[in-house]
């Protein structure tokens, strides 16, 4: 038998996609809440299992995606995404409905992604960003819709540049982008509606 790995995607399309979406929806509705990846999807490097799950759950021929260099340079990852989602890949960040990033370092200038317009703030990019770890350690203090009082969030690899860009992003409300952070086993959302207070200086 050939030992080449096969990447099968969801075993049960309807139920796996539902479980995945439900966790994401609950996380988006409660910013800073960390959810365990319900259906990790085995995928070629550099995609982590949570990223792969979200790509299969949210992307299809109707949603242009932007890939960072790490993914764009991996034929295996690109063909995995193409086979399972048929999502058109765009090189123009401003036309992407989703941006798939393997590291916060590849975000660059946030304002290059689609920000939506005043009339249609929903025409914006959702950034799905792979990170090493997410925790509720006291770093950023979040408040706003979905949060009773405040929530604390700490995401490994996010530097000062990111957080100040994210703060500017939430000032753009209702325009702006939304973030989904994905580690190998967890996910967490940061929509534009969340106000961010940095409790500690970024490392």
């Amino acid at each position: 038998m050939n030992a080449a790995p096969t990447y099968l995607g969801f075993a049960d399309l309807a139920r796996d996609a539902q479980a995945s979406f439900r966790a994401t929806m609950d996380a988006m509705a409660r910013p800073g809440t960390i959810k365990t990846t319900p259906v990790p999807v085995n995928a070629p490097q550099p995609l982590n299992p949570t990223m792969a799950m979200l790509a299969l759950t949210l992307c299809d021929f109707d949603s242009p995606i932007w890939l960072d260099d790490n993914i764009a340079q991996s034929d295996a990852a690109k063909s995995f995404i193409a086979f399972h989602t048929s999502a058109p890949v765009t090189k123009d960040k401003a036309t992407a409905q989703f941006a798939l990033l393997t590291s916060p370092a590849s975000i660059g200038n946030l304002s290059e992604f689609a920000q939506g317009t005043d009339e249609y703030p929903d025409r914006s990019t959702t950034l799905i960003i792979q990170v090493d770890a997410i925790s509720n350690a006291q770093f950023a203090t979040l408040s706003g819709p979905g949060i009773e009082t405040t929530a604390s969030l700490s995401v490994e690899g996010l530097d000062e540049t990111f957080w100040s860009q994210a703060q500017r992003n939430s000032q753009l409300f209702p325009r702006g982008v939304d973030f989904i952070f994905v580690s190998d086993t967890q996910l967490c959302c940061l929509p534009r509606s969340t106000k961010i207070n940095l409790t500690r200086e970024a490392a």
Binding site: A17, Q18, D26, A29, R30, L58, P121, D122, S124, R192
Partner: protein
């Protein structure tokens, strides 16, 4: 190998009726709606096997979030037993097979037409509203291009004029249902035709609230703990309806929303809780109203 094992006859429907691409499209709209509370996200609503006006928007949202572990409750004007609720419950029983309940506390997903349950909702629940006209400004300004611009500029003077005209004509704000609310100080939103009695329950509710309008092709959302303020004036503050001398004829509840039931041709009438589960739970707990059989027994 038995015949049953090798038979691979497909299910007649995909889980929860909608195809997976439609669900993905709706799910993307839901995420955007949650990220922008109160903003109406356009979505490509499908034709459903029921007419517009029967909750096609709510049904599509429910179908897109529902999973095998969910317990679904469907209410129509507060009741689990009215036509629309029964039809939608049957629809999901056939197409998804999820567990159904009439108890508010047991449900993980509640689809509702025009009421919010009297019982307080929890973090683990999602409330889905059926919405006929999602645009609160539509009857004041019929052009979509204009209402969209008004939302973009957060220009809601027209709505205040409407409420003011109510006061000028009637001496009070006469809007009693679909009473406009301001979400997080940014978007004016139609709470769907719920009685204004329910508006305060939307404010900082612990449950996620999703709104689906099928014919008008819009989805919007209120994440938990979102600020939802009913529009009013300093000298005419928002007030919910009150019925100080009325209590439910079956369970004796006060401070709930009532249905009026005409009993005969002489005009006798009774008031009962509009929320049927709330009423039945109270009766089971031993609370009786004056028309309940047990109450009469107790009096004698």
């Amino acid at each position: 190998m038995s015949l049953a094992e090798i038979s691979t006859e497909q299910d007649a429907y995909n889980f929860a009726y909608l195809d997976e691409q439609t669900k993905r499209m709706i799910r993307r709209a839901i995420l955007k709606g949650i990220a922008i509370p109160g903003y109406q996200v356009p979505f490509a609503a499908r034709e459903m096997p029921m007419p517009y006006g029967w909750g096609t928007g709510g049904v599509q949202v429910t179908a897109s979030i529902l999973g095998p572990d969910d317990t679904l409750k469907v209410i129509d004007q507060g009741s689990d037993d009215t036509t629309n609720a029964v039809a939608i419950r049957n629809f999901f029983a056939v197409t998804s097979g999820v567990e159904m309940t009439m108890k508010t506390s047991e449900a993980s997903v509640i689809q509702t037409r025009h009421r919010i349950p009297e019982e307080e909702l929890t973090e683990d629940q999602t409330l889905i509203y059926q919405v006929p006209i999602p645009e609160p400004l539509r009857f004041l300004e019929p052009r979509e291009t204009e209402t969209r611009k008004m939302h973009a500029l957060s220009e809601y003077g027209l709505m205040h004029v409407k409420l003011y005209e109510d006061i000028a004509t009637h001496g009070h704000i006469a809007t009693t249902y679909a009473y406009p609310v301001m979400v997080e100080g940014r978007y004016v939103m139609d709470p769907s035709p719920t009685p204004k009695f329910d508006n305060p329950k939307m404010h900082k509710n612990r449950a996620l609230q999703l709104f689906g309008a099928g014919r008008e092709k819009r989805i919007y959302a209120l994440p938990p703990f979102t600020d939802v303020v009913s529009l009013d004036f300093e000298d005419h503050p928002f007030q919910i309806q009150e019925w100080p001398d009325t209590c439910c004829a079956m369970c004796g509840a006060k401070d709930v929303y009532f249905d009026e039931v005409i009993l005969d041709n002489e005009g006798s009438r009774m008031f009962v809780c509009s929320d049927s589960d709330y009423c039945e739970t109270r009766q089971a707990d031993g609370h009786y109203g004056e028309m309940h059989a047990e109450y009469k027994e107790r009096i004698q």
